[in-house]
């Protein structure tokens, strides 16, 4: 297991960063969209230009950076080991929304699910034998 973590290590770290960017991009998008809807309601269809610059465009940028980081990461190991690490984006999304959004109650089942996903990533991350 340690050997696999060493060989795929850089890839694992880069994929974790890209999963985080994915979650962050999603959060920015969600905010942006919510603001846009709000702006559309208040101003009757005039979307807040600041929302576009503060949330929607940065959301795209974070996504694009995440894609590049993921691509670099995939060069450092097996696809079948590294790609499933994308599932950590659910975990990061939950953590980010717990910190920044705080408008939804996170159920205990979801928290258990998060730990199970992390366990699966650890099992798969340490699984390479080549």
């Amino acid at each position: 297991m340690l050997e696999s973590l060493k060989r795929n290590g850089k890839g694992i770290i880069l994929l974790l960063i890209s999963a985080f960017s994915l979650a962050l991009g999603q959060l920015l998008w969600k905010w942006g969209m919510k603001d846009l809807e709000l702006a559309a309601e208040i101003a009757r269809g005039i979307p807040g230009i600041w929302t576009v610059f503060l949330h929607v465009l940065p959301g795209f940028a974070v996504y694009a950076i995440g894609a590049v980081v993921m691509t670099i990461g995939l060069g450092y190991g097996e696809l079948s080991v590294l790609q499933p690490i994308n599932s950590m984006s659910y975990v990061f999304a939950l953590i980010l929304s717990a910190i920044f959004v705080r408008d939804e109650v996170i159920s205990p089942i979801t928290i258990v699910g998060v730990f199970v996903v992390v366990a699966g990533v650890i099992v798969i991350g340490g699984s390479s034998k080549k």
Binding site: G75, I109, F115, V116, I124
Partner: protein, 122 residues
């Protein structure tokens, strides 16, 4: 799920399988565009495979948004994990990566975890 005819369900399953396959294929192309250890990373931006992978991801994401209009999030999210099964298959066929017991175990654990995350969000 009420109001879905058999044809709707067949179409949804077809979209789901295609979308997850494209998403998996996208990651294969991204991997293809990525130089192994030590290679010049700027080459990624010059590789057509990088953009092909990107376009496939966008198509997959758009299909996913379409599915979300038909089915609840708590069903679409875990079904997205089919992508990992495709990836295991593709990386075995196209890249010669071994399918090991541990990889299958890890994948199953991840899928269970995603199902739980989605259940909790219901």
């Amino acid at each position: 799920m009420t109001g879905l005819s058999t044809i709707d369900i067949v179409i949804i399953i077809a979209i789901l399988l295609t979308e997850t396959f494209l998403s998996s294929l996208a990651s294969y192309f991204l991997k293809k565009s990525s130089p192994a250890d030590g290679g010049n990373k700027l080459k990624i931006l010059l590789s057509p495979f990088f953009y092909l992978g990107g376009v496939l991801y966008v198509i997959a994401a758009a299909s996913n948004i379409y599915l979300l209009q038909k089915l609840p999030y708590a069903i679409v999210l875990p079904l997205g994990s089919i992508t990992y099964i495709w990836t295991m298959f593709l990386s075995n066929r196209l890249l010669g990566e071994k399918i090991t017991f541990r990889k299958i175990l890890g994948m199953c654990i991840i899928i269970v975890g995603v199902v739980l995350v989605a259940l909790g969000k219901n």
